[in-house]
Amino acid sequence: MKSAIKDVNGVKVIELQGKITIGSGDIQLRDMIGNLVKEGQMKILVNMGGVTMMDSSGVGELVGCFTTVANKGGKLKLCNLTAKITDILTVTQLITVFDTFDSENDAVASFF
């Protein structure tokens, strides 16, 4: 998995590309968001547009990250979900848990 972090009006936007799967992207995702939380970042947006596959470990890490951020009083949201990722979040019923947006701009605006 490849990743990049940028700041948009105080929102940390994480752009992910590739697979979030067991033993690779899942740990990377946890570390990346864990570090942002340690830095005191409370507004985190994960742009999922480039994610090609997310297995149950990847989903588990995403849930764990959501909880970590929420426990610190912050918010973690998702944007640009592909059909495959939307299907997975629907099947796991997590689509009701995450705030999701079709565009990065709308997602960033929702934090304010």
């Binding site: 799967t21 067991i22 033993g23 690779s24 596959m53 297995d55 149950s56 470990s57 989903v59 588990g60 890490e61 849930v63 764990g64 959501f66 909880t67 495959k84 997975i88 099947v91 796991t92 019923q93 997590l94 848990v97």
Partner: protein, 139 residues
Amino acid sequence: MNDFAGPVVVSISSRFENIEVVQLVCENVCAKCGFDGEKTYQVGLALREGVANAMKHGNRFDLSRLVEVRFEQGQGILRIEIEDQGEGFDPSKVPDPLAPENLMKTSGRGILYMKTMMDRYEYRIEPGRGTILVIEKRI
């Protein structure tokens, strides 16, 4: 067009990196079965979950224990058997990941994935062998 002759059998040690190797074989088998991209993705994802479970819950990451994956076809079905060398893992004891109290858990969704992605899912535990998981997809 379906030109998969099979069976194909792959044995791997219980390292997560090896899941990528089996998935590559799986994609090749799916192509020979004439699966489109969507079906190939579904089978690959289910396979990954089954192999990861075999490594984690079956072999408990013991590198001396193998996971064997067998691909075969018959009667219009691709059948994949995933066998570990553990003590026997009973997937029916995994809590329902859709129950409200489990929704925010960080694990326990692998079986749900397999049931969703495949047309058939079953497992058996045989004396002297580990857990044998069978997943099938109509061709």
